[in-house]
């Protein structure tokens, strides 16, 4: 019998990676994604189950936990995003596959906060947004998630269907910072 397998397709094709000045925008591959929304009163149990199964617990608001290939990112009110490794069976939470919904970019270099200052209404300088901080905000009229995944890297997640718009918008901001 033929063994059919689903092949993943990158959410953005075209010019990536792009470098403008000191900054580089590239497509990141966080692996498979699931949203986890614990039922009322179940957050602590869900956090323990995740810690046991994939080695990462639920972080508090505005934070991200990563270990090995797995990460859990705060994704909104009572909502987290598990990436990289499948979560275990979680009877205390609503778990939804999000892998086809998002495009993930890495914005790397020393001027990430200057680029983001032209795009979102939140201060992303390291003092305000240290390593492993994670926020939800608005970029070009869209809901996005931004996390500092390394001291010089901001990971931006947006709607997969708007990947080329996001690429162009972020690239324009990089060009304007590079031109100063």
């Amino acid at each position: 019998m033929t063994d059919f397998r689903l092949a993943s397709v990158p959410p953005a094709t075209g010019p990536l990676p792009v470098t403008r000045g000191a900054m580089t925008l590239s497509l990141a591959d966080p692996g498979p994604l699931w949203s986890v929304a614990p039922h009322r009163g179940e957050a602590a149990a869900v956090s323990r189950a995740l810690q046991e199964a994939i080695g990462v617990s639920l972080p508090g608001p505005g934070r991200r936990h990563a270990a090995g290939g797995a990460s859990v990112q705060w994704f909104g009110r009572n909502l987290w995003l598990v990436a990289g490794v499948a979560p275990p069976d979680l009877p205390g939470a609503a778990v939804t596959d999000q892998g086809d919904g998002w495009v993930t970019f890495d914005l790397a270099g020393p001027e990430g906060a200057d680029v983001m200052a032209r795009l979102i209404p939140v201060d992303t300088r390291p003092a305000a947004m240290p390593d492993q901080a994670a926020i939800r905000t608005e970029l070009h009229g869209m809901m996005v998630a931004v996390a500092r995944t390394a001291p010089d890297t901001l990971r931006i997640m947006g709607f997969r269907s708007m990947a080329s718009t996001l690429t162009r918008t972020i690239t324009e901001a990089m060009e304007r910072v590079a031109a100063i």
């Binding site: 505005g62 909104g76 009110r77 809901m143």
Partner: protein, 81 residues
Amino acid sequence: MRLTCPHCGERDLREFTYGGAALTRPEGDWSPIWDEYVHLRENPAGRSREFWQHGAGCSAWLVVERDTVTHDIHAVTEAGA
């Protein structure tokens, strides 16, 4: 205007959507109190209690106590908390 979301911290107005006056939903079948709840609104010059949703942020519904004269924000709490 900036609102301090209990989850996200101080954020710009563009991330929020106004959700109307924060009223207490009446109980039971239709009565003149329901009519008032659905149709009648105060238009205060001064303190008001309103719903706002942090739609481009954490998605939480918030109750905001705001002064419509001075634009002061007195309190932001999570609705239903």
